[in-house]
């Protein structure tokens, strides 16, 4: 079946009184190809995907002009069950794309939607789960899976629908590099053997060289999609390692015989370690190994055995209210961090409650806002910011709080290299100036490791400092 997806003269805006995100955009998706979309955070990568998948303007925004045509028909007019056979999408937020409770039920739900013959549904779902190496997850409860596992199930849901065009909106934000490569190769195979059209948006362009047929970028200046030469993908600097430094033995934060489980599964067997003050560390390890859970344990959000110590004193008896002023957890999911409605209110609130208000002067905050390119969105509602803008705002409001221990869980997910560098520099500067102990979980290593002072690796139920053993 031949299929086409075309955007003609599209002008799209989120509200009547704001500047359009796209103006007179023209684009034709090349079929049976592997495409990559890059662009700074907030440039509209999610928006263009949702438009081409027919979800916008139904769910958000206003299309002022132009057409988006699937096989010559306006895509918004095609009923979802018809559309899903041609176009499917994988979303940025892994946990919010499932209607059902278990993995198998989710696949069955998708097949029922497209009116797949009842007697073939079980067979089809089984086949796809096995092919995607997810068969052992069949009866697992979706909301208990890790972000990476959820994203793999979401991909299986798209595959079960057998849609010809697959949009993937920042699908790897929470996935470790090994699984990322596996999925990328799987996608390439789907394109080559089943003639699927793949369109991914990703802030990280590593590992795409050789896979991608077309590379696109959203140009903010022209509000348009431009094709870049593939040679851009080869321009990457080589992967670097954290250089080992001799760090002072000045730790104020440590743990002793710390261990925890998730359900029956042991994630960490008794482990003791400390982290230096005034330095930024990277916590690495595979998907689902328990890095976020470790942060949850440190911040008393998850039960554990053993002790977490601050200044040599165990913390277990400290009231959560006070412990939250010692250890800050910068969540993977940015919107969990917000307690106000607008970006500027968040900043004001942090400023007035900061533990280092002498440091966070109005001028310094202003500079940080400028550096993170948040100036135009200060009056916006937090939840309506783009994924990347939310990340930056979230990190900034906690940095202003300046707890002595800072735990960042994937602060760079969805950020372009420029934003990433600015944010990382800000984290580093604050850590050094205020003598904080900062630990970062980041799957993204490029642009990160060169600025990191030490690395902790979580593997096989233990944590060790790299270079020491």
């Amino acid at each position: 079946m031949s299929i086409s997806l075309k955007v003609e003269d599209l002008t799209f805006t989120y509200s009547i009184d704001s500047k359009p995100i796209f103006e007179r955009l023209n684009f034709e998706l090349p079929l049976n190809s592997f495409n990559l979309l890059i662009g700074p955070s907030g440039s509209g990568k999610s928006t263009i995907f949702k438009l081409m998948a027919g979800l916008y303007p139904q769910y958000s925004g206003i299309k002022n002009n132009g057409r988006i045509l699937l096989n010559g028909q306006e895509i918004a007019d095609i009923v979802p069950f018809e559309r899903a056979r041609h176009v499917a999408m994988l979303f940025q937020n892994p946990s919010r794309q499932f209607a059902m409770k278990t993995v198998f039920e989710q696949l069955v739900f998708a097949l029922e939607n497209i009116q797949y013959p009842a007697h073939l549904i079980e067979k089809r779902a089984t086949e796809v789960l096995k092919k995607s190496n997810l068969w052992q997850f069949k009866d697992r409860i979706l909301q208990t899976l890790s972000g990476g596992e959820q994203q793999r199930v979401a991909l299986a849901t798209v595959l079960v629908l057998d849609s010809s065009i697959i949009f993937l909106d920042e699908p790897f934000a929470n996935i470790d590099n090994v699984s990322r490569l596996v999925i990328l190769n799987e996608l390439k195979q789907l394109q080559l053997t089943q003639h699927k059209t793949i369109f991914i948006s990703d802030h990280d362009i590593s590992n795409y060289n050789g896979l991608v047929d077309h590379l696109y970028e959203i140009k903010l200046s022209s509000q348009n999609l431009v094709e870049l030469p593939l040679t851009e993908l080869a321009k990457l600097p080589a992967q670097t390692k954290v250089t080992q430094k001799n760090l002072p033995d000045n730790a104020v934060f440590s743990w002793h015989n710390l261990s925890f489980h998730i359900g029956q599964r042991l994630l960490l067997s008794p482990n003791s370690l400390n982290i230096p003050k005034g330095y930024v560390g990277l916590l690495s390890g595979d998907n689902g190994i328990g890095k976020s859970t470790l942060f949850a344990a440190f911040s008393h959000q998850k039960k554990y055995s053993g002790n977490v110590l601050y200044n040599g004193k165990s913390s277990e008896k400290i009231r959560l209210r006070n412990w939250a002023r010692t250890v800050a957890n910068i969540f993977q999911n940015s919107s969990d961090q917000f307690i106000k409605l607008h970006a500027d209110e968040e900043l004001d609130f942090s400023q007035s409650n900061s533990l280092h208000s002498e440091y966070w002067t109005a001028q310094r905050i202003q500079d940080a806002v400028n550096k993170l390119d948040l100036i135009q969105v200060l009056k916006h509602v937090n939840y309506q910011l783009s994924g990347g803008q939310q990340k930056k705002l979230q990190a900034l409001i906690i940095l202003i709080m300046s707890q002595p221990v800072m735990l960042f869980d994937e602060p760079f997910a969805g950020l372009d290299l420029n934003s990433l560098e600015n944010l990382l520099m800000l984290i580093k500067q604050t850590t050094k100036d205020l003598g904080l102990s900062t630990l970062i979980i980041s799957h993204q290593r490029r642009g990160v490791v060169e600025h990191i002072d030490y690395e902790l690796l979580m593997d096989e139920q233990t944590i060790k400092r790299l270079g020491e053993f």
């Binding site: 958000s60 069950f81 056979r85 209607a99 497209i114 009116q115 409650n353």
Partner: protein, 224 residues
């Protein structure tokens, strides 16, 4: 599902059909019969005893409260009225329990959509929100903790805490709706239904019979 069990749809019909009548009936004995019969069915289905005892304990203050207030402030045959209201609480409770404790939410909703043509938007909307309940509980904790990290405490009576929960839930529902649409879910359109259950004719008769029987006894015979 065991074929010897009553179909979820029939259970819901019995629950509504008898429950509605209980509201207007003035008989302690029929209430007690309802309690007795529903308890028998719950035992037959091996419903969780712990949950049953727990809910019965929760309901006790309500039953006692209405009983006591009729004894103290009622007029006419206060003992009769007091016992009607007290037994009514438990009759409602166990009638509800025959549905909620013997069938999963998913099966109740799918059965209703299969036999009573309940709209699938309603069914899957509810199912999705049930599946998110655990997350919402977790979210409540997370929001309180986020506030603490910013040097403020949201107590459980603080409205801004719930405002936050609602905002987050609204955002989730938007994301979820987009995802469901992209997975082909279409409001009001036909879908394949793989859910199957057994609904023999005699069960319809059973529901009708029980509802009529209750009617005859509580409104025509009217025992104490």
């Amino acid at each position: 599902m065991s074929s010897k069990r009553i179909n979820p749809t029939i259970l819901v019909i019995i629950m509504l059909g008898i429950g509605l009548q209980i509201t207007f009936a003035h008989s302690v004995s029929t209430n007690i019969v309802v309690i007795f019969v529903t308890c028998l069915y719950l035992c037959y289905c091996k419903a969780s005893g712990k949950l049953l005892i727990l809910t019965s304990l929760y309901a006790f203050p309500l039953a006692l409260g209405s009983w006591w207030s009729f004894i103290m402030f009622g007029t006419g045959d206060v003992w009769h009225t007091a016992w009607i209201y007290a037994s009514r609480v438990y009759a409602y409770l166990y009638l509800g329990a025959i549905v909620t404790l013997t069938v999963s939410v998913k099966n109740i909703l799918l059965s209703l959509s299969l036999h009573l043509k309940l709209s699938s938007t309603f069914v899957y909307g509810l199912l999705a929100s049930f599946n998110l309940l655990g997350r919402i509980k977790h979210q409540y904790k997370t929001i309180r903790y986020s506030a603490m990290m910013r040097g403020t405490t949201y107590h459980f009576w603080n409205p801004s805490l719930y405002l936050r929960v609602i905002i987050v839930a609204l955002n989730w529902s938007q994301d979820l709706a987009e995802a469901m649409t992209s997975q082909g879910f279409t409001e009001g359109a036909a879908r394949t239904l793989t859910y199957k259950d057994n609904l023999p004719k005699w069960q319809w008769c059973l529901a009708t019979f029980l509802i009529l029987l209750y009617f005859v006894f509580s409104f025509l015979v009217r025992p104490w």
